[in-house]
Amino acid sequence: MSLPAGFPVERIHAMYRRMLLMRAFDEHAGWARREDRLRGSVHEYTGQEAIAAGVCAALGERDYISSYHRGHGHCIAKGADPVAMMLEIYGKAGGVCGGKGGSMHVADFSLGILGANGVVADGVTIAVGAAQAVRLLDEDRIVVAFFGDGALNRGPMLEALNWAKVYDLPVLFVCEDNGWSDRTPTRSVTGGPGIVARAEAFGIPADSIDGNDLLAVACSAGLLAAEVRAGQGPRFLHATTCRWRGHLALDRGLYRDPAELATHAEQDPIGRTRAWLLAQGIAPAVLDGDAAEAAERIAAAAALAEAAPCPDASELCTDVQDTGAPSWQ
């Protein structure tokens, strides 16, 4: 891990705090799903936090991100309120989407978060379109599309890479390569020399980094985002990482090799960042305090969500469409 000279330690420390919040959020979310305290598909981000934290640190509030099914981390990294998110995944009133979306649809347009998505790769086509809007409206924003390694086999994803290059759009593609496509090892269903070669075949310069190394992510994303912002066209970041949990909360991951799982702890982006911060002279007590604070915030959010009321029945037919609201259906 090394940083450009002059990069303030405090910024990494801030990303560290965000990672703690993501971790606490999803550790709770997974538990709550397994305990049947909430419903729907919950995909934990645990183990992958450095990517969201490092990438979003390169973004301003106006910038857009689009995400995928494993989306809680990206929202938190972009600044979403964990309370509103927690209410959402519990399907409660006051959730970011009024409880109508649930875990796979967390979003906050006021922060440029265009939403998690339940369909693999669809968020990526949406991201290139967002970039087209930015261009048309002559706005000062860039767009980040987060997606998994499995998405690289879906046609719309590949079309979107071509699309971004053809129109030279301000998009940073971020592939979170955890090696898994649900319960299938991605390499067993993926041909060719690798993900970077795919991006380059569409004319998009790509970096490949250790996505468990927060500093590497922050540096690389910072550089790529700056190029995108400077109008140099789309860029691609390939970040390898580890999925600590099952594909989703209810997946016990019985098909996984214990040897692989055993490597996770030493790859832990939070542990590694903590070690680095300690080496920079941050006191252990400060870092312990950070962890305690994250845990508390999430516990408080969870308590609030558990107690909160569900949306009112009157919400059922709102926000469907204005033309032809289904009053007589």
């Binding site: 379109g129 809007a133 048309l136 926000d319």
Partner: protein, 326 residues
């Protein structure tokens, strides 16, 4: 008032909306070189530039997906999918994203996108270029579905579709592109969801839309000579459909016939017939009837294709049978 073709009327509407609102733009395959498959974009790329009339790769999923992204980020894209058959290549994006985004994101966002998907038979284009899929989109919560039958409507309804903040599936008919009609270039956008009585009548309500309107009017004339007075209702918007207008007419006539070029089985005519049967049962003097294509892919060969069509003669025959059935 000006006389122009259905294609020209659509072009005029898009041009006016693009002049009026710089957030409006269009994307699709081959819009620039010759203005789309029917000239419905002719000259617009020269006028508005390549960034507002965008020629795209052959990438239907991303044409649609990117339009959705652009719509939720402040622009108003008009998507050209060329034929409704290719709309199926973007079905996921239309249904899972465009139609649902507003609802599943709790009303944080609107998706003002128009999805043009021309329907209908034309010139033996066969099974993969002739489908009428309006029934699919009507069944999808969140979508508005529009099917203009005249040049004036292709002007006023397209304007309305572009101004809609919710996604609109806009289904022109391929056989209408070259039909001419009077258009008021200064017309306001039409009100979505309103049917038009194209011919008043007292014996039977004939509900139709799109390419079948002409045949239905012909049938009504023939029927008139046989003493049957048919009221022809052009639905114009399929969702929401104008229940009030249809119910009012059927309440007067006591007879409902729906005719469409789409396959009859599972077609949108079933929805209308079922609603009328449920709500106007006691006003009906005879069973509600539907006419549509047989449940076969569309054949290339001319006489076979012709057999898939609902003809004026069939409409008249159905009307006659209904007049004597009670």
């Amino acid at each position: 008032m000006a006389v122009m073709t259905y294609a020209e009327a659509a072009r005029l509407a898009l041009r006016q909306e693009m002049q009026r609102d710089r957030r409006v733009w269009a994307l699709g395959e081959d819009l620039g070189p010759e203005g789309g498959v029917a000239g419905q974009y002719l000259g617009l790329q020269s006028e508005f530039g390549r960034s507002r009339i965008v020629d795209t790769p052959i990438s239907e999923s991303t044409i649609m997906g990117s339009a959705i992204g652009a719509a939720i980020c402040g622009t108003r894209p008009v998507v050209e999918l060329r034929y409704a058959d290719f709309g199926l290549c973007a079905a996921d994006e239309i249904v899972n994203q465009a139609a649902k985004a507003r609802y599943m994101l709790g009303g944080q966002v609107r998706v003002p996108v128009v999805v043009r998907q021309p329907i209908g038979f034309r010139d033996g284009m066969a099974a993969q270029h002739s489908q009428s899929t309006e029934a699919w989109w009507v069944h999808v919560p969140g979508l508005v579905v529009v099917a203009p039958a005249t040049p004036a409507d292709n002007h006023a309804l397209l304007k309305a579709a572009i101004r809609s903040d919710d996604p609109v599936i806009y289904m022109e008919h391929k056989e209408l592109w070259t039909r001419t009609g009077e258009v008021d270039p200064g017309a306001e956008p039409a009100v979505l969801g309103r049917a038009a009585v194209r011919r008043p009548g007292s014996d039977l309500t004939l509900v139709t839309w799109s390419g079948m309107l002409g045949d239905c009017l012909t049938a009504a004339e023939v029927a008139q000579t046989q003493g049957i007075s048919i009221e022809v209702l052009d639905l114009r918007t399929l969702w929401p459909w104008d229940r009030d207008a249809v119910f009012a007419s059927v309440t007067r006539t006591g007879r409902l016939l729906v005719a469409h070029q789409a396959v009859k089985a599972g077609g949108f005519g079933a929805e209308i017939a079922a609603e009328v049967a449920e709500h106007l049962f006691h006003a009906l003097r005879c069973p509600p009837r539907r006419l549509g294509a047989p449940r076969t892919p569309v054949p290339h060969s001319r006489p076979l294709e012709a057999l898939c069509r609902v003809t004026p003669a069939q409409v008249v025959a159905a009307a006659r049978a209904m007049m004597t059935d009670h």
